[in-house]
Assembly symmetry: C2
Homo-oligomer: 640 residues x 2
């Protein structure tokens, strides 16, 4: 096991990460690539002394002391149009007519604007004097022949292209791109677009790595996925090694596979140079060297894979392509909640950044298997190796996500299809980040400051009232509540199942139940109903829960409930009517719950927030999704 | 004439800038393009409840209260490998062996790590309890089917690609790219790679626009250049209009051409909608509309062209491609020198940004014909329309160059080939920005804080000493002087010219002289020599200067002197031996001048500066360029 900072130096000690070679390409093809040679200007710029206005080229001393009422006449000895290459000369007392961009004849040192002159009979009368150098642009005054116009290692940008073209360059030498072979491994993988069985998962890492490699100018290729069989891994690896400079295998997630990949890599020469990094996520990274080729065996969990790609694979590619700056950028931010470290391990915590007075970083919850975090996270909070605990208020380094987007509004809370469709139809919808974490986590995110709005449907069993009692218990300051709409909750089951209208039915019919996660509004409802029914049955709620198969089997969304039921993994659950209908399932109503939205006071004046409020106030009963309803309170604002 | 802020709204009033259409592409092809539809997840993620470690799936309540010394045995009823799709079940008192990534059988709600168990004879002994949800990843817990995973208008990044692939998406709808036709116009233009006559200039704008358009995903095409002829312009324009959504003609610089382009554009329907913007540079911009196509007639001077491309052409393309955020970003910075505004005109001053304690902006000198500024500038200082004068210390808005590079060291001053080659061979060479402005401007840049090092060769006529007296007169504080090397200066002329060894020779032989710019070290030498010679001849220095043809014809570099002589535009000048030899010219030595380097004290500890000092101290006499020499003082540091 090595530390994060040792990985690249260790690779370099086996195989120096110098550019792989250079190719000469046209200027157009060079865009985004890295110059492999210093470029010395082959010419002077401008290449000739030129007029910057239409007028008369003169020797400025000839017009010294000339004014409107004391004009002077010079002899007109010729005319130069733009693009003309014949060389005129002039002498003291003479002038030459020139167009903008035309050659200024030697030794004229200024051009007088045509509007300050009057020409007649081969002579020109001047009404103004002119300063030396006025309205001319002298040959070589901008770029001298032989001057370095671009250093090697420079990325060819549109601006550099302009400079190179101006001095006449049409071809440049650039470092050749790295060829990267990507091999997804694992029996459980399917390719996006294929049909998935329960127990299989789409390979998302290959396309992510492909996209990153493309974005830095490399030449990636995804190889067919490989099963958990030594011979298959070995054959694919050697084919990819023959065709590429670097090969990235992406671990399936099974331990057996890791062992097999390891066995194949250890047969390379010199073989595995590191296995395991003291970091989290991303610990299982292995790197092997084979001659001058490098193999990265990347972990399979998306966030682990992403982190090792950012920390090691991309910097190595950039170095091999000659890009001098290959470090991932970091910024400083303050944390609002304490974060635990792990002794000896550098922990990277996926986080959202938000400027609340100063830059603050909020950890995204969830483990490295989360893929939704990919498009939500702004970066990773770095918890250094020597840190057991980062207290609230600590200033931390945040490793930036290279494709960070600026969001204006964070809506974090319970997922609701109607709220989502309202946001989707706003003009500024793309500035909204919606994170679905459930009602309670949403309210906590609002309290900490990261969420601007939080959708919630939490029943207070004591009062039978929705949302407000819980919001008040949480002591959320500086917030308002927008009263939303009602959603019908009920039992959901497959159409061929016998009617379910109570938990007793589920127990009696030996059906498999699927529960929701603690903190969700639906879970509060479920527990409340179980207590009521157990009272009626004269047993303890604990006994009732024990009898209910699957009470401890929790999923996090309405959709997951419906999905597991439709797949036949479970038989019955509780959720909203809208989702039941979408999955073609039976729905037996239980109650109507309130879905309200809490708004951070500071965000209340935000234009997007105003638009959302307006949309909710103008909801049309006729076009609401199944199971939704409005009442007279919908759209009112309550001060906390 | 309209204001800067009116241009795009005016275009929109004739032709709404909505996306042009959409196309369905593979995820790989979509990278960098803009989604034209909201993407709802077609599946739940993870698609099944999976184990995140190797171990045994259990119902957590079965292991309540289990410890090392109070183990419990469960019946082993099966095994699920990763990728297996057969559906196992278990009951209370049972467990199932699972691999990382394998399906967790219903209703197991946790997985116990294999190292906390012991298996034998179809049973497993457990030595630890487990929390509900531990080591499992529940179906749909991350992304719910139907959840928006990406809004329309989002740019497809590698991270988004990962999320989309994870939910099984392999194709997406994106806005179709804008087709842009680029037509360079002007008789003086040549294409880079072609041979240039004196009076001709390379077309650099077309490739710059091409590169910018490419970088934002458009499909640009450069058409053959067009001469200053109405019929040619008209034919090219109509061909390009047929094949593209937008056409950009790039003005030659001559006034006649502008008129002709204008005449052609006015025949379109509805025709020219604006001609002239109250901005500088970029004033001559014209825009025409033809049906639903747009024509931009861009100014020809590189910096004017660049600015109008950034302010108008690129935002219009981005809007037509559906990118929601199309504004050019600005930042705040403080100016160290006053800047003049122009009433009614928004002035954009090319500038270098530097963080000296706070962000500061330093204007780059020179007019809009400068092309070298392109790769040096960090942005433009914006001087608003209502401003006559921005005093020193004002906080200004700086329009950022979209391809800004971070430099660590600014070397601004007199161009010296030896210093340049020293820098070119440093490991961190690409972090150095070298700007060649002459000795005096370099010292002023150092005094103001923008330059970290300034190379200088300025003779003090009073003492006959180089550099130090002038540096002291300028009262540069907080700086050190690194004593450099000597360079031979002399008369330069073509090999077939009669020997020149004085200014009297030049006058007597009626040769055409080329002078250097005021502020350059060479100009100080020239004026000093002219005074000496005129004294010997018994005439006034003014008379001597009058007799010298070309005294008022100034160029800014040694290379330009040599170039004009080699081209036969002039006959003689003064410059360093090294350049004379490179151009194959005769060199008659006059004197050896000192080339020293002034270093800002704060930059003295910079690693690159230390390396440059070290290289100068270790220069080898044997490998110096022609005309260079060292002495005992070379490499010493003098405190000011």
């Amino acid at each position: 096991m090595v530390s994060v900072d040792e990985v690249i130096p260790l690779i370099e000690s086996y195989r120096p990460l110098n550019p792989l070679g250079e190719v000469e390409v046209s200027l157009k093809e060079a865009i985004g690539r890295v110059l492999s040679r210093n470029i010395f200007s082959p010419s002077n710029y401008p290449p000739y002394t030129r007029a910057t206005v239409d007028g008369y080229a003169v020797i400025s001393e000839d017009l010294a002391g000339v004014y409107e009422d004391r004009p002077k006449t010079l002899k007109l000895v010729g005319k130069v149009a733009t693009g003309e290459t014949k060389l005129l000369r002039l002498e003291r007392g003479q002038c030459v007519e020139v167009s903008t961009g035309a050659v200024v004849p030697y030794p004229a040192d200024a051009v007088v604007l045509i509007e300050h002159t009057h020409a007649r009979n081969g002579e020109v009368e001047f009404y103004r004097s002119v300063a030396r150098g006025e309205n001319i642009d002298i040959a070589g005054s901008d770029i001298a022949e032989g001057e370095v116009v671009a250093w090697k290692g420079t990325i060819v940008t549109p601006l550099l292209v302009s400079v190179l073209a101006a001095v006449g360059i049409d071809k440049v030498w650039v470092y050749r791109p790295v060829r990267l072979g990507i091999i997804p491994t694992g029996n459980e993988l399917k390719t996006p677009g294929e049909k998935l069985e329960y127990g299989q998962i789409y390979d998302s890492n290959s396309t992510m790595i492909y996209a990153y490699a493309k974005s830095i100018g490399a030449e990636p290729k995804i190889y067919p996925r490989v099963h958990d069989v030594v011979e298959e891994i070995e054959e694919a690896l050697h084919k990819a090694l023959n065709e590429n400079d670097i090969v990235a295998t992406i671990g399936g997630t099974s331990a057996g596979l890791e062992d097999k990949t390891y066995r194949v890599l250890s047969r390379l020469e010199p073989g595995i140079i590191l296995h395991g990094v003291r970091e989290k996520p991303g610990r299982p990274l292995a790197v092997a060297v084979h001659g001058d080729k490098i193999v990265f065996a990347l972990p399979g969990f998306p966030l682990s894979c992403l982190l090792t790609v950012n920390l090691y694979l991309l910097p190595v590619i950039l170095k091999l392509q000659g890009t001098p700056k290959s470090e991932v950028p970091t910024i400083k931010a303050r944390i609002e909640t304490p974060i635990r470290g792990e002794p000896g391990i550098r922990v990277f915590v996926p986080a959202i950044l938000k400027h609340n007075g100063e830059m603050k970083a909020y950890p995204l919850t969830g483990h490295s298997g989360r893929v939704s975090a990919m498009s939500l996270l702004d970066g990773y909070i770095i918890v250094p190796e020597d840190t057991e605990h980062l207290p609230e208020g600590t200033e931390v380094d945040v490793l930036l996500n290279p494709f960070q987007k600026n969001y204006e509004l964070n809506i974090i809370g319970s997922h609701d299809p109607l709220l989502q469709s309202i946001v989707a139809n706003l003009p500024g919808y793309d500035k909204v980040r919606m994170v679905n974490v459930g009602s309670l986590s949403g309210l906590q995110a609002l309290k900490s400051g990261v969420a601007d709005m939080a959708g919630t449907h939490l029943l207070d069993p004591a009062t039978g009232e929705y949302n407000l009692p819980i919001i008040r218990q949480l002591d959320i300051k500086q917030a308002l509540v927008l009263i939303g709409y009602k959603r019908e909750q009920g039992f959901i089951y497959r159409k061929n199942t016998e009617l379910v209208s109570s938990f007793k039915d589920i127990v009696d019919k030996h059906l498999r139940f699927v529960n929701r996660n603690p903190g969700s509004g639906t879970r509060v409802l479920i527990d409340h109903m179980l207590e009521e029914e157990s009272r009626q049955l004269g047993i303890s709620p604990e006994e009732m829960k024990k009898r209910l198969t699957g009470y401890t089997f929790e999923v996090k969304t309405h959709e997951a409930v419906a999905y597991l039921i439709s797949r036949g993994i479970v038989d019955v659950g509780i959720g909203v009517k809208y989702i039941a209908e979408r999955y073609g399932l039976e729905f037996k109503p239980i109650t109507s719950e309130r879905y309200d939205i809490v708004i951070r006071r500071e965000a209340y004046t935000n234009k997007l927030v105003s638009q959302i409020i307006e949309k909710i106030r103008n909801l049309d009963k006729a076009t609401l999704p199944a199971g939704y309803s409005l009442d007279t309170k919908t759209g009112t604002i309550i001060e906390l």
